[in-house]
Amino acid sequence: MKTQLKTEVNIGSLSLKNPIMPASGAFGLEMEKAIDFNQLGALVPKSITKLSQPGNVKPRVCETIAGMINSIGIQSKGLDHYLEVSVPAFARYNVPLIASVSAESVEEFVEMSSILGNHPNIDALELNISCPNLKGDGKAFGMDPYITEDLISKSKRVANVPVIAKLTPNVTSIQEIAIAAERGGADGLTVANTLLAMAIDVETRKPLIGNVMGGLSGPAIKPIIVRMIYQVAKVCSIPIIGCGGVMSGKDALEMIIAGAKAVQIGTASFINPTAITDIITEIHTYMDAHQINNINDLVGSVEI
């Protein structure tokens, strides 16, 4: 591996030493035993809600072909616990901490953004405006461009760190929402969250997920996400963080070439606990083999 390889990327004023980070909800402190957090581009813990909440009924996960459906709901110990316990624990690492925020109203998003976005140990916010489990029938804030723009611009005004909007793929036109988020002042866009999905056991005729519907993740969704990154990159000029179905370095590079500046890894860690750090190594190997000295040269380099 050559030492002069430049893997540093920027999301607004946030600088990451490499473009690979975990996806919210698929990463926790417990994984210290599996990987060296200091190697990661950023740390992204599970979405945090203002008050503690229990999460959804069981079973909360089921398997599909090349993927899984989850309806964890945001099981959370609430903001106070997050600030007292989680943030200091993540702050021990010399890696930017991106706090993923989930809320029940625009006002609550703004309130949390002002608290978390002014905390000395939090380096960026990712607003989870896309969780499909939050509201009836999987509706989310990020399905409406007006709410998206309003929510982002208000949060942006009170937060002192870059604000990233995590978009939902469950819309007719993700470009429309992406443009609204950019107009609202977002510093970056995570493309995207899980796809609303359902699976049924034909023997019992019962849904495999207690909550009936849930979010599909894993390799099954990757081609859809790559398409969305490509579409969003064409209409927006803020950095995109690709997320959905990345299992290998090659998958991550595919997203970067489609237009993503950084890439999040979720479900892959369930299959291979060292997936995130393995992917970083694979990217180095690729850059070396293809004589790419700066990862930024690859961003959006798809040849049509």
Binding site: G28, E30, M31, A34, K58, R60, V61, Q75, G218
Partner: protein, 259 residues
Amino acid sequence: MKSYQAVVLLNRQVSKRYWHMIIDTTKLNSPVDPGQFFHIRCSDNQSPFLRRPLSVYKVNDNTIEFLYLVKGLGTKEMSFIEENETIDIMGPLGEGFHLESTARTILLVARGVGVATLAALAQAAYFQGTHCVVILSARTNEDLLAADFLKGFGADVYSVTEEEGTSAVENVKGLIVNEIFEKFKIDNIYTCGSKRLSRLAQEVAETYDIPGEIALEEHMGCAMGACFACVSDIKEEGIVKSVRVCIEGPVFPLRKVLL
């Protein structure tokens, strides 16, 4: 917590629905406690996609053994693995059983493949000189697993089955209270494998003030404590608390679980 490839030394069908696997763990470099589990990739393909949790059945110097029920796609795929092939395992994971060094006689109550989890405890008990009394419950006589294995470790084994009409909860209760308690002074109770029997074990443990433990099963995503798929409720000092079976369990104090 890294995963690694272990060589499969044996993978054999032991009854109509159950299989026995032995894997080489020379590279494991970590002690394995009874009640702990491994998260296993059942095939190299993307289907089945998720890993499957299996507890250790027997722990030896350089090998560990699993006893598994072929239930669905994952365990079916596992049964196709041939000897000398490798299997990707992650573990040992979770909190195992606690076995007090002062315990003289313990009671294990197992239903079906739940015995796979308790057998490792019987083995550990034998090595520290603790006597085991085991109740094995199953649908059929053919499904009564590990009876010889347990007897080999000096256990007194009582079998009950649907086939013989002896496995009803009331019957098992009679067996514990009228027969086993008459004969032995039980220091601890351990259970795994069925809600109905676990409830009975919990009731008996409370009535007779015997400390006990239970190994729980929940569907898992990560098995590392990160995803909150495997949660279960337990009661601590009157307060219901959500715990993750993969990391805070799978073994919990019997009196704390809400069954």
